[in-house]
Amino acid sequence: MDDKEPLPGVILTEKQKRRRRERSIAIALALGALVVLFFVVTLVKGPAVLIRPM
């Protein structure tokens, strides 16, 4: 049996963790805003939302 300690892998610094969290929050906010935008435009356009002139 292999009783060695598992390798620690990549350990992020505090700065890297903080920046990753900031980026994750920004992506979440952007995607949330996109969902809200599509929802609001659906309300604005009503049934015509699927009619898109070229």
Binding site: V10, R19, R20, E22, R23, L37, F38, V41, V44, M54
Partner: protein, 313 residues
Amino acid sequence: MSIVENSSIDLAPAISEAGVADFFALLKPRVMSLVIFTALVGLVLAPGHMHPVLALTALLCISVGAGAAGALNMWYESDIDALMTRTVRRPIPQGRVAPREALAYGVVLSLFSVATLGILVNWLAGALLAFTIFFYVVIYTIGLKRRTAQNIVIGGAAGALPPVVAWAAATGTVAVEPILLFLIIFFWTPPHFWALALFRADDYARAGVPMLPVVAGPDATRLQILLYTVVLVAVAIAPWALGYFDAVYGAASLVLGAGMLWLAVEVYRHREGQPALSAARRLFGFSILYLFALFATLLAEVVISTLAALFVG
């Protein structure tokens, strides 16, 4: 010390330390602000009624698309950005953002902005935005910038398209008025960037970018600036002369055009030392004011006439 120990190859995984501000900087916010402004003018000049939510959606997509093109430009140009004083502080040359991050960011934003504009507003506007991004990244950045002194003349088309995209978003078609706006920005681009290149010629030469002052020399550039400024002023007055825009715009284009011409003549006359640099800087600064003021006049006229109609009607 062995050769291996002296190697600079770093096998550690690259963990990004890029912050949100770095990704915002990749969008070239100063360029984006001009895009938003010119697109806004294209939107408000367009005939008919556009729901404010759709207008905001179109503006958002156009500005994000422009920002995406900026990010892709910074991805491709990171090597020469590192050599120029004006661009060395950008996120990629500073090592804060990896080139592959900028590439992925630019591609994703391009796809999202074009798709959102197409789905929520109309596909003509979406296609024009896609063409704008393609033209800026592939034609200008990859194709022209490092090959020809005409880079910014042809590449200027990308920066001139936002009001056309905005008009298409509002009307579903393209007409003479947005093409006139396109022409104004198109002919404004060479004198603006060549004035910059006159006092940044060392930067461009160091990076190997064949800007006109580097390739043809400052005197040939001064002549080209003057000639393009004459064409610009005529093109900017033409919409009033042809009856597309009214007398207030006509007066503004005449007064501002006189200023541009005077400063272009000053650039042509002063060829040595500090007076030459100062003349180029003055023209560069005024050219920004010129374009902003022309478009602001059009915007103000529409806003004032709409408010007047509201209060009188």
